[in-house]
Amino acid sequence: MINNRIIAIIKRELREKLMSKSFIFMTLLVPLFMLLMIGLQMLFALYQGDKGTRIELITESESLTESCKKYLAKQDFIKDETYAILYDTVPRKSLKSRIEDRKKEILSGKLTGVVFVPSTALKDKQIEFYSKTPTNLTVFEKLDNNLNEVLIDQYFSEKELTDEELKFARMSVRFSGYKVSEKDELEEEGYGNTALAFLFALLIYFSVIFSAGQTLNSVLEEKNSKVVEVLLSSATSREFMTGKIVGCTITMFVQMVIWLLPIIILVTTSWITLPESFTIDISYGHLVFFLFNFLLASFIYQGLSATVGSMFNNPQEAQSGFFPVIILILIPFLLSFTIMRNPNNPLAMAASYVPFATLIVMPVRFTIVDLPVWKLILSQLINIATLMLIFPISGKVFRIGMLRTGTKPSLREVLRWLKS
């Protein structure tokens, strides 16, 4: 099956891709890019840009106003003067005229808004916010818990509760997750595996998208530089396509193993210790499954991108033809976020056995929940069947497309190639 011509093509692909500066660049860049994305997200979350916020907080009773004043004065955002709060007690009937008085200041931005805590809030906890931007989430985040505490204190102050009872009343419910598996013990599970599932989805997505794009361009270049005719005089189109895809897949595989090195070290050694809530629980088998699945994903998407590249004559046309391939990988990637929230949702379970979707969905699900071996085997059989279906089709389109010039082919024309 693998002959000297395929080996020669594989070697050339490896020399061009694996030994290239872009490979080193990409291998280092993707983890850095991911770290950058997480870092930026954290940075943006920390930076709320609400320095200088001025709020007027109005209640209907002196005692509630005093409680708010006393409670909020202890908060950091008041101490560091990020927020300035003016307190007042005004009955509801005068609220409208008060808002009218403040209108000019609100519209000019000198006053961020007026928070009105009516007496009825002690029954229904409904608070009103009058502002130019009344859905300002940072204001809500800063005030809602604090005002809730004040309302709880006020509500229970007449019930003669002890401090301990009051503390209990203030507490929120906290879930601890224990994984039920084939193992004897029940283990409390942190968020490590969910984070790993996210990482797996991201790595498959990035790797496939980047390398499929590279293959697309490389096929286009071979077609446009006419080198394909020389190649096809020595090797068959099938040998050429196989060599090319195997070469690209080996490059992707090596890159993926490099990216997974920290995870491999984590699983195989005790050199790295993660915080308890981020402990990762995966086995060698899990990594082998992931890499095997990735290998099939590479073959499938390399095959598709080589086919698309062979059909068109310039990058613009090829990009539009490549769009359906991107959709095929983008949808399961987006679906994987739903799976991380609920790995048992019916959509996730169905997608685990849908061709193309299973390539991302199954590794993500398997990282979060224990699945029986037959389900894993079934998903891989679906991938192999997809690959076996794609390759003959790709081979036919590739053979005709590579030597074709002129306008971009219509769908009808491509179907005719397949029938020929």
């Binding site: 020669a8 006419k226 080198v227 096809l232 005089s233 020595s234 068959t236 030597l403």
Partner: protein, 327 residues
């Protein structure tokens, strides 16, 4: 001559007759949509010959060559290599120079040569040394480690030609090999082609330049509008076509010949003029006619005709029935 035989049965038993045709093209047809690029083309390429596939641009030469190389699949017909359908064995033993040259631009020159040789199953020190010899011959030794894209177009063509012959193929198939080359490099190329012929290799090349074909080929097939209109050995073709022909170089006015009863056709080729007589026995009468009309004769070649004249004669008529000449 490679040891291959045709088997013939007769009253006296089975006879093994040496196979004289290396390649046999049988009833080859190929269409692209509504365009019939090649129509029922048949010709034989004899062993040890330089074979020219000649015709105008777009006549179907490249399509035939691509079918020979199995790059295009024919709609009908077959290509036989010494009596057997061409297969990977033929591909391994052939060096192909396509009309539209193509190399990997980012690859280095020597790497490129080694890659294409490896595709044909040849690698190692010996191939590397041979590659360097060819580079030396084409005056490209100092560019061995340059990227292909850094070379001029002419030099890239030379590299492409070396990739065609580096693996020492038995068959060399060249599609318009001289296109875009300067006279010095055409000469080197021609020397190598003749050298390969002397080594017993078979060379098939296509060209629309008749003088190259005439100077180099032993056998030709002429294609027009996808149809083979003439094929056979160059000498027998020329003998047949030259019988009523005179090639003339002169000074004076020969316009009187246009309507003369013994003249069939006058073709002006600039430096010389081809005259076709109605009867081959009228050569002496024709010479007299020129002298009587004070035409100063510088060259008078009776029974001589150029390939270009034959080509214009045949191709100018449009699609014709096929003419075949035995060797």
């Amino acid at each position: 001559m490679v040891g291959s035989f045709d088997i013939h049965s007769s009253k006296n038993g089975i006879m093994m007759v040496p196979h004289t045709h290396a390649l046999e093209i049988r009833n080859l047809s190929k269409s692209f949509g509504h365009i019939k690029a090649v129509r029922n083309a048949s010709f034989d390429v004899p062993e040890g010959s330089i074979f020219g596939l000649i015709g105008r641009n777009g006549a179907g030469k490249t399509t035939i060559m691509r079918m020979m190389m199995n790059i295009y699949l024919p709609d009908s017909g077959e290509i036989l290599l010494r009596g057997k359908q061409v297969d990977q064995e033929f591909r391994n033993s052939v060096g192909y120079l396509p009309e539209e040259r193509g190399l990997y631009k980012k690859m280095k020159v020597l790497e490129t040569l080694m890659f294409f040789a490896e595709l044909k199953g040849k690698k190692g020190k010996a191939v590397s040394n041979k590659a360097k010899d060819y580079l030396e011959r084409f005056d490209l030794m100092d560019r061995m480690n340059s990227k292909v894209e850094e070379l001029s177009k002419g030099n890239q063509q030379k590299i492409q030609f070396i990739t065609t012959i580096l693996h020492d193929p038995e068959f060399i198939v060249l599609d318009e090999p001289f296109a875009g080359m300067d006279p010095i490099n055409i000469n080197i190329l021609r020397e190598i082609i003749l050298e390969k012929k002397r080594e017993g290799k078979m060379i098939i090349f296509s060209t629309h330049l008749m003088d190259f074909a005439e100077r180099m080929c032993d056998h030709i097939a002429m294609i027009n509008h996808g149809k083979i209109i003439l094929n056979g050995s160059l000498s027998s073709i020329k003998t047949e076509y030259s019988q009523k022909n005179v090639t003339l170089t002169y000074e004076g006015d020969i316009s009187f010949l246009e309507s003369h009863p013994i003249i069939e056709k006058v073709s002006d080729f600039g430096n010389s003029t081809g005259i076709r007589l109605k009867d081959r026995e009228q050569t002496q009468e024709f010479l007299r006619l020129l002298l009587d009309n004070q035409v100063k004769i510088k060259r008078f070649d009776a029974e001589d005709i150029s390939l270009q004249e034959i080509f214009i004669e045949l191709a100018g008529k449009g699609p014709e029935e096929e003419l075949s000449f035995d060797q």
